[in-house]
Symmetry: C2
Subunit: 193 residues, 2 copies
């Protein structure tokens, strides 16, 4: 947990570090003679997100980026997280194209998202639907599948993956367990490509 | 945000600190020549929780603590968070008595909770239902109402409040906004008693 080490000089630990940090209590756990302070805790530390350079946009261009986002969404709609998306076909299409606008802009294709939809604020925009740790696993797995199945320049996969992997963690807004959010570092997934 | 200052010497900031820390970008926000790293972020820092001494248990005893928990739940069932509780009356009653077991034990009345139900792990136990920031506001407001309406020793209110106020933050498992979790410090609520 590299990021959590930034806080090691303070009393703040993550829930997931509990096992390492709690020593057996020497005083009664509850209702002793004195007030007993349980220390501060952090739930998720969202890791840094390296936004790509324009190399991917230069290689793919707008239409291929849009096709990638559409392909990804077609896969998502076959999973349990299809419930996150509008069921109305027109609304669904708008949502997918909006997502495509974001990917195009984020990769360097100009302000096609912000000019139409305003600031990205991705975490904020996703608050309206609950997104669990597992939903993020599915989203990311379907992106891996997408990147395998479309024509994506091999030499740019790492830069793309290093962006979407931590980015996807920021959409989680519904915790269902105490575990640290799993990381899927490039060095562990690159052999699959 | 006292707790967040523990991390000020690192690069980790909370989402709610964004306005203070982001300076206008000098390089293109998206898709420039270089990869642009957005720094780590923390969502909630759960503040320390001062578990009470046995003074409250000594003053109230088990039955009055149970009555307090029942009173609180009767109020909760009149609010929007009633959906968190079982609708079946028997299951509801079991849930309320289990909560009472926890309060009795936490206040120093012996292991009536852990002997029947195992470790408290309150945050973990609440994962099965979504609990938003606003649900926590309601829960806490109904506790304030309870403490006003039942016979609770005035001199012990502060110790009790200082426990349940931060404790309630740990049950939040569904984020719906970017704001810092509101604190309701004793010095701001004591005038109401």
């Amino acid at each position: 947990m590299q990021n959590q080490q930034n806080c090691n000089n303070s009393k703040i630990t993550s829930f997931t570090q509990l096992g390492e940090t709690l020593s057996p209590p020497s005083t009664p756990r509850f209702g002793g003679e004195e007030i007993r302070v349980v220390e501060s805790m952090i739930d998720i530390i969202f890791p840094p997100v390296p936004f790509p350079s324009n190399r991917i946009f230069k290689a793919l261009g707008e239409e291929k980026i849009r096709d990638m986002v559409r392909y990804h969404h077609a896969l998502l709609l076959k999973t349990t997280i299809k419930t996150i998306f509008p069921s109305n076909p027109e609304a669904l299409n708008l949502a997918i194209e909006k997502s495509a606008d974001f990917f195009v802009e984020a990769l360097g294709g100009g302000d096609v998202f912000t000019s139409q939809h305003g600031e990205p604020h991705l975490r904020m925009r996703h608050f309206k639907v609950p997104i669990t740790e597992n939903d993020r696993e599915i989203w990311l797995a379907m992106y891996k599948k997408t990147l395998k199945e479309i024509t994506f320049p091999k030499e740019l996969l790492e830069e793309f993956w290093n962006w979407i992997e931590p980015l996807s963690i920021r959409m989680i807004n519904r915790r269902t367990n105490m575990s640290a959010i799993p990381r899927h570092y490039w060095h562990t997934v690159k052999k699959e490509f």
